[in-house]
C-alpha cells in the first residue's frame, strides 16, 4: 500500500494511504480524544470530540473519519481545537448527572478524563435534564441512560460484532435514547448479555452489577488468563482487589478476542461461592468428615496400593478432566501409567 507523508503537531509522519488522521497520529504516539470511535467498528464521526485543525481546511474535521492526504499539516491541540472540545464537553455536561463520587465508572470514564484534560467542571449551559428511570432489572448490568452520551458504540457492537442487534437509537432530538425495540426490558429483548456494550461504554451508562462498589479501575490488578468455559479460549483479565475477583476485562489485544460471551464476562463469581470445597473429606459411616491433607492423601495412596497388589494395575482407573490445565492432565495420566495401567480418559466424548 502506498505511503503518505504528512505532519502532525510538527512531527513528520509516514502513514499508509487510507489511514485516518486518528490512526496516523496514534502511530507517532499522539493521543486524540474519542468517544464514539472503536477500532473494529464502522467510523461514524458522531461525537466530534476528536476534531483537529488541518491547514487550509475551513472547518475542524473529525480525525476519526478523515483519511490522511499527502502534505497534510495537522494540529491536534490548538486553542481553536481545545475550544471546540470544551464546547462539546459543556454540552454533554448540560445533561449528565454529576455523581462521579459514587459512579462506578470513575477512573475509567472518558467524560471524566477529558473534562480533566480540558479543565471543564460542569456546564455553562442550563436546560432540561433527562429523567429516564434507572434500570436494574437484568441480572448482569445496570443501565443508567441519563448518563448515556449517545456515542452509539454499544449499538454498533451489538449489531456489527455480536449480531443480535438488541438495542438501537429510539426517538429523536433531546428524547433520543439507546434501548430495545419498543423499550421492552432488556432481558425480554434479543440481548444475550455478552457484555460488549458494557465494555465499550465510555461513561457510566452501562456498568456491571457484580463488583459494584468493590474497586475502582485504578485500584485493581488485572491478571491475564484464559476463560474456563467453552473451547473458544477467549483470553481475559481478571480484575483483582485484596485477593478478590471484582470484575473481568476482555483482552482487546487477543487474536480472536476483545469479545466475550455472558459466561466469560459475567460467570466468574463461582470462584467465591460459599459452596466451594474447603478441606479434604473422608466418608466415615456414610457421612463425610473433614480431614487433613496428609490423612486424605495417605488413604488414597494406601487404597491404590491395595487394589493394585490384590487385583493388578488394570483394576485402577482415572477420569482426567477437560476442565483442568495441561499440567494437571499430564501428571494425571502419568500417575496412572506409572502405576501400570492405561485406564485413563476424560469427558471429551460428553
Amino acid at each position: 500500500m502506498s505511503q503518505v507523508n504528512l505532519t502532525i503537531n510538527g512531527i513528520p509522519v509516514q502513514a499508509k494511504a487510507g489511514m485516518t488522521i486518528l490512526e496516523a497520529a496514534k502511530t507517532v504516539g499522539i493521543d486524540i480524544p474519542t468517544f464514539c470511535h472503536d477500532p473494529e467498528l464502522a467510523k461514524v464521526g458522531a461525537c466530534r470530540i476528536c476534531v483537529v485543525e488541518v491547514a487550509g481546511a475551513r472547518n475542524l474535521p473529525a480525525a476519526c473519519t478523515v483519511p490522511v492526504a499527502e502534505g497534510m499539516v495537522i494540529q491536534t491541540e490548538t486553542e481553536r481545537v481545545r475550544a471546540a472540545r470544551k464546547t462539546i464537553l459543556n454540552l454533554i455536561w448540560a445533561n449528565h448527572p454529576q455523581d462521579c463520587l459514587v459512579c462506578e465508572k470513575t477512573g475509567s470514564c472518558k467524560l471524566q478524563d477529558y473534562s480533566y484534560r480540558y479543565g471543564v467542571s460542569g456546564s455553562i449551559y442550563k436546560g432540561q435534564k433527562k429523567e429516564i428511570p434507572f434500570d436494574d432489572t437484568n441480572p448482569f448490568f445496570f443501565r443508567d441512560l441519563n448518563k448515556c452520551i449517545l456515542c452509539g458504540k454499544c449499538v454498533r457492537k451489538c449489531h456489527d460484532i455480536n449480531g443480535v442487534g438488541a438495542v438501537d437509537f429510539m426517538w429523536r432530538g433531546f428524547k433520543t435514547m439507546v434501548t430495545t425495540p419498543f423499550d421492552v426490558p432488556i432481558e425480554e429483548s434479543s440481548c444475550v448479555f455478552c457484555g460488549m456494550c458494557v465494555d465499550v461504554c465510555p461513561v457510566g451508562a452501562l456498568t456491571p452489577k457484580q463488583g459494584l462498589g468493590q474497586g475502582r479501575s485504578f485500584e485493581v490488578d488485572k491478571v491475564f488468563t484464559t476463560c474456563p468455559y467453552c473451547g473458544c479460549g477467549c483470553t481475559l483479565y481478571l480484575n483483582v482487589k485484596n485477593d478478590k475477583i471484582v470484575g473481568v476485562t476482555p483482552n482487546f489485544e487477543g487474536p480472536i478476542n476483545g469479545h466475550l460471551c455472558v459466561k466469560g464476562r459475567f460467570g466468574w463469581d463461582f470462584v467465591d461461592s460459599p459452596d466451594r470445597l474447603k478441606t479434604p473429606l473422608i466418608k466415615k459411616g456414610g457421612q463425610f468428615v473433614e480431614a487433613g491433607w496428609d490423612e486424605a492423601l495417605d488413604l488414597v495412596a494406601e487404597k491404590f496400593k491395595e487394589v493394585r497388589a490384590q487385583y493388578g494395575a488394570d483394576a485402577l482407573g482415572g477420569f482426567s478432566s477437560a476442565r483442568c490445565t495441561n499440567e494437571d492432565n499430564y501428571l494425571f495420566q502419568k500417575l496412572l501409567r506409572v502405576l501400570g495401567t492405561n485406564n485413563v480418559d476424560h469427558c471429551a466424548r460428553l
Binding site: 487477543g254 473422608i282 466418608k283 483442568c324 501428571l331 501409567r337
Partner: protein, 537 residues
Amino acid sequence: MASLATAFGSGAMTNTIGEIEEADTIFVMGSNTTENHPVIGYRIKRAVRKGAKLIVADPRAIELCEYADVFLQLRPGTNEALLNGLAHVVIRDGLTDEEFIKERTEGYEELKAALEKYTPEYVSEITGVPAADIEKAAHLYAKAKAASFLYTMGVTQHTSGTNNVFTIANLAMLTGNLGKRGAGVNPLRGQNNVQGACDMGALPVVFTGYQPVTNDEARAKFEKAWGVPLSGKPGLTATEMVNAAGKKQLRALYIMGENPMVSDADINHAFHCLDSLDFLVVQDIFMTETAKIADVVLPAVTFAEKEGTFVNTERRVQKVNQAVKPRGQARADWEIIRDIANRLGFDWKYKKAEDVFNEIRQLTPSYAGITYGRLGVTGVHWPCPTEDHPGTPILHVGKFSRGLGKFTPIEYTPPAEEPDEEYPFTLTTGRILYHYHTGTMTRRSKGLGEIHKEEYMEINPADAEALGVAECDMVKVTSRRGEVKTKVKITDRVPKGVVFMTFHFSETAVNLLTNTACCPTAKIPELKVCTVRLEKA
C-alpha cells in the same frame, strides 16, 4: 477425532477461528454455535453480513438458521446420509476438485462407487430434507473458493459418530477444502481444555502428542523418561471403565474435575457401576453429584487460583495465571497428583506448573518449541517443533499429516433407537447459552443462575397441543432407562416428534433417559438420540 486422524493423520481443528470470516461458504452441522461457542457464533454472523453463504444442518431451527442460505433440518441421527447425499451431488454435477483428489488423496474410486445410491431423492427419504435443498447446499459448498466446515457434538454423539466425521472429511477432500485459508474441517471443542487433555495423553491409547502406547518406540521413550516399565495394553475409555466397575473388574477410580453422575448417559446405570467400586476418590471444586458418592473428596482450586496452560479449539496453547490465593485448603490439581505419586513411592520434584510443562515439551514433539515465556497474550498454535518455529495455525498445507488424505466410504446406519408406538418421540440433548455442562459452575454464578433457573424441555406446538400441555406445564418424560419430570417450553425450534433437553440441571437429569449405545470406534454414547414417551404430569 478418530476419523480425522485416519483421514488426514491429525485429529484436530484444521484452521483457525479468525479465518471463519475469510470463508466464502460456511457449513455448520450439529453445532448450536451462537449458544455453545458464542464468540465463534459472532464470527459466523459477521461473515454472513459480509457476504459469505451459510449452510446450517441441524434437527432444530437454531438461531443461525435465521442467517442461513440453506437450512437442512434433518431427522436426528441421519448426518452421514445427508453428507453422502451432498457428496453424491458434488460428483454427479462435476463439482469436484480433480487436481486435489489426484494429487493429495487416495480411495476416490471406492468412495465414488459407494456414493452412487445416495441420490438426493433417496437421501431425502432418510433425512426428511427436501432433495432440492441437498442440491443447493452441495453447490454452495463445492463452488466456494474456500468453504469452512464447522461441527460439534450433534455430529459426534451418535452411534454413527465416527462415520459422520468420515463423511465430512470426504466432502471436504472432494472439494479441495483443506490446507488453505478460510477452509478446513473444524470440530469446535466444547470445553476449555478438551484439546489439551487429549494432547496430554489423557486418553487410554496414547501418551502426549498422540504417541501410541502400543508403539514400542514411544513406550521406550516414556519408560526412559519416567524410569518405570509401562503397559502397552490399551486402556479402557471412560464409558468402558464405568461398565468395568459394574463388573468388579475395575476396583478403584480417581475422578478429577468430572461429574459423570450428571453427564454420563443412563445415570442409573452409571450410579450402579460407580457404587460397585471398592474405592472412589473425587477431586473437584464443589460437592458434585459424583463427589457425593465418593469415599474421599479432595478440594481443588479453580482456574483463577492456579497457573498452567489451556489449549483452545484451534490448537492455540494459552496461559492461565493465578489471580487469587487458593480458597480454604484447596490445592492445585497437579500438586495433589504429585503428592499422591510421592506417597506411592515415586519421586516427583515439580515445584511449579512450569516444571511440568517443561517435561511435557521434552516428551512431545508438537509442543517442543512452546515455552511459558513465548505464550504472551496471544499464545502459540501447535505443532511447534522448535523455539524459533512460529507455530502452525493451518494444518495440512500442501500435504496431509499422514501423506495422502484418505477417502472412507460410509454407509448410513440408523440410530440405536427409533421412534415406535411405545416411545414415539425422539429426545435430543445439548446446552444453552447461560449454562455450561453439568452446571456446577454456572448455577453457582449469581447472574447466570438467576436468568435461567431450571430446565424447560422444548416441544413443538402441535405435539404440545396433542398432549394437552401449555407453556411451563410439567410433563413426565420416560425412556427405556428412566424418567424425569420437567417444565415445557413450546416452540417451533423443534420439529414435530422431536423434543430437546439440556444436561445442566441435576434435578431434571436428562441423562437418566439417554442411551449408552456407543459409537463402536470413538465410544461416544448416543446422547443426541433416544426415544421417549411423554405424559402430562
